[in-house]
């Protein structure tokens, strides 16, 4: 377990910033203590300092996990954000998308969401913007990239696009558990 290097920190923050923008500082300085990121076996863990102290006693090969796993660095040192980070990103998300109950299941099973499934969306969301997806009950479901399918538009591109796709980025979906199962929605 070690702190992140400069390079790694930069890469990771860039990724996170896609979803929560400049609210990054809020992640580190929280009201209930200081939190920090630690790297262990290529995974980035987000822990409070109290936990960190105890975890320091555990030898590296015996440590499996601590706090919350935010994501991991791939072999080529790109950072992949995990679904487990959702709880921390959701409160600070800059762009949010709410999807209708009907599309919720389909989304959870790993399918893309069409524009028809969107309930609400934050204004001024550009194309390829990282968004956090919520259900209508404000339950965060995942993080995504907003794609636009048809012709690019100017200004409020969203309203004019005929088909909008939300590319799912969440890893833990029902699809992974029950491939091919269709649920009654």
């Amino acid at each position: 377990m070690r702190p992140l290097t400069e390079e790694e920190t930069r890469v990771m923050f860039e990724k996170i910033a896609k979803y929560i923008g400049e609210n990054l500082q809020l992640l580190v300085d929280r009201p209930d203590g200081t939190y920090c990121f630690r790297l262990h076996n290529d995974r980035v863990y987000y822990v409070s300092e109290k936990i960190l102290k105890l975890a320091a006693n555990i030898s590296g090969d015996k440590l499996v996990s601590l706090g919350t796993c935010f994501g991991k660095f791939t072999k080529t040192h790109k950072f992949r954000l995990h679904i487990t980070a959702l709880d921390y990103l959701a409160p600070y998300a800059k762009y949010k998308v709410w999807i209708k109950p009907g599309a919720e299941q389909s989304f959870l099973y790993g399918n893309h969401v069409l524009k028809s499934g969107l309930g609400r969306i934050t204004e001024n969301t550009c194309q390829y913007q990282g968004v956090v997806v919520y259900s209508m009950a404000d339950v965060p479901l995942g993080t995504h990239i907003l794609l636009r399918y048809k012709r690019p538009e100017t200004g409020n591109s969203f309203a004019n696009s005929s088909q909008v796709q939300l590319k799912k980025k969440s890893a833990y979906t029902l699809e992974n558990i029950l491939p091919g199962k269709i649920w009654p929605s």
């Binding site: 105890l54 499996v64 996990s65 919350t68 919720e104 959870l108 029902l174 029950l178 649920w183």
Partner: protein
Amino acid sequence: MGRKLDPAKEKRGPGRKARKQKGAETEVARFLPAAGDESSKRLSSRARKRAAKRRLGSAEALEMPKFPGAKPFPGKLPKGVSGGAVQTPGKKGAQSLLRASQGKKRPAPTHSSEEEEEEDDSEEDDVVNQGGLWDSEDSDADMIDDYGADSTSEDDDEGEELLPIERAARKQKAQEAVAGSQWSEEETEEEEEEAEEESPESGPQKNDETDGGLQINVDEEEPFVLPSAGEMEQDAQTPDLQRIHKRIQDIVAVLRDFGTQREEGRSRSEYLHRLQKDLATYYSYGDFLLGKLMDLFPLSELVEFLEANEVPRPITLRTNTLKTRRRDLAQALINRGVNLDPLGKWSKTGLVVYDSSVPIGATPEYLAGHYMLQGASSMLPVMALAPQEHERILDMCCAPGGKTSYIAQLMKNTGVILANDANAERLKSVVGNLHRLGVTNTIISHYDGRQFPKVVGGFDRVLLDAPCSGTGVISKDPAVKTNKDEKDILRCAHLQKELLLSAIDSVNATSKTGGYLVYCTCSIMVEENEWVVDYALKKRNVRLVPTGLDFGQEGFTRFRERRFHPTLRSTRRFYPHTHNMDGFFIAKFKKFSNSIPQSQTGNSAASTPTNLDLPEVKDQMTPKPKGSSHPAKKARVAVKAKQQLQKRQHPKKASFQKQNGISKGTDSSLPTVSCDTKSQASSKLQDSSQPAQKAEVIRGPKVPRKLKQQSAMPQASKKVGFRKQNASRGTDTEVPVLSLSKTQAALKPEDCDQPLGNSKRAEKVKQQLPEQPFKKAAFRKHNGTPKGPETSTVSLLSSSRPPPAKRRKSQSRGSSHLSS
């Protein structure tokens, strides 16, 4: 087809047709043998008819006029006696004749069928027209072909009343009977062997006569007969589960009232042995496990327990209060089509699922971490542990993470939890579950639980869900029935003891809010539960406290030849058949001291073997009351350190050793030490640089400060003189006489309780002085009498020993200080 069936229509007239109109049952009742005459299989309807017919036999003619148009009561027709009930004592005689001839009687089933017949005796009126249902069949008898049956091959009793197909079937049966004649011969043999053979027959007959008009709903009790070896062999080859089940019930009934119901000449153990074999066969258990269960449960509970293990427990889930509330979750799941209910008064977060139209482990709520599938009994140890916020908790065997997450939600994600498991594969599930449920205050590690206090200790609370034999969760894993052996249970118990001791050592007794440990297993074996807990009580400074669970059976304080500590009554046992949850055992400890009591065997192992004084000292230690256990233990700790020191110094200073022994003896005799041995040792170390003060240092931890000062004697050339001086001062530590001090201590344990019995000591010391020379020699042999703190040993030698010794002492003392 054919005639319309009109049950209400009165059937009248003599002759074959009219008889037929009563129904096939009446026809066949004449010919049906007593139930059970047929093969061991359950009788088919045809077979029953035939049996009934055979039974009716010639008596049918008598019965006909008795049954004018009575209403049919098809519902009352008992199984195994089709249409049968037209019976009289005379018929019974015929039946018994039949039985004897066919030689296929089974006492128990026969009995039951006869009883049923008796019941029907009283319902003669009702039974008459049961045959009405079979009207249509009988009418077609003449028109249907023969099915190849040759009427000549059949018994004369049956005559021409049977349908052709019935004749054919009976013929086939006869052929089978011939084939199985060997089998039946065994039975006839066995019948002849058993003296009580006749009683089942005679019994019902008598009952017949006495109960002529009485309606009885309860089976008559009939002396149950243990089968002989022949039948047991046969059972081994072709177990007839129904028969075995019946026999189980019979044996349990006999044993319940053994005095009156026993068979002559058969002991209780034979019945029990038979029952064990039958239960093992019926429920597919290994003999070992079933023997253990028979020791554990009374017989009635045993059968219930075994039955409960065949059925899975209801699915339960626990709401994750970090993310939702039970009410909201229940609502959401009901909307998805799950039928559920709150778990019980004792749980605020549990829900029990009766049935569900969607897979309960794959709902969006599950994925969002709103609940966790967890057995009801697994929620109990965490409720007993009662973790508070901002505490440090250790979960030693955490996989798959249900209990850990429950702890986290009770702590509201504050504090720190260290979740550990020895199995790397199962740790992955822990990681997944904890992340899914949103637990953020947990560190997950992969240690063997026994390494624990060394890696990190000082936890406020510890939960140990020890790996066990799994005899409480047989319904989840039926393989446990057969693959558990004596060795497995003992191996589990050994591992559990080690883990429990490590867990106890990881708890910080001086924690402000904690100091508790919960030990739980999903097993019902006493070897893994009460025995392990009792072992821990003996080995460590812990005591049992109430778990806080107000239901559940109390743990055993004695079991067969073992006796456990009475506080074991505060532990709890749960069973599948009484609480409808997996078998479980929960014990809650409170640690009241961080010191580890040194076992006496451990000390002797460290020292040289032949130490006469040691046993005395040990004896002195043992009588000490519990209250003084603290100081005693501390003394022992110090003693151990002293041992090391002594060992190192042994080759150099015999006198030193001698004095060590002496002082050790005295020190050990001082029970009431309020101050820490170690601290005193360390303080003495500091002082050791000055020879003059060494004596003071060596006094030992138990010596009050003032005494120490007094004992800071100048170097005495003569040890005796030195000792005398000490004695005169009345210092307790400075008892020059080597073994005498120890013997003194041993002989007068009450002195131990008087920390400042200086005067006494002084007297004793004086008494002992003359014996000193003698003892000295003897004492020198004894190297490691590490009963006193090591510092005391150093004291006397300080005057005579060069500085290097001191250094060594300090080192050893330092090390011993660290180690202790």
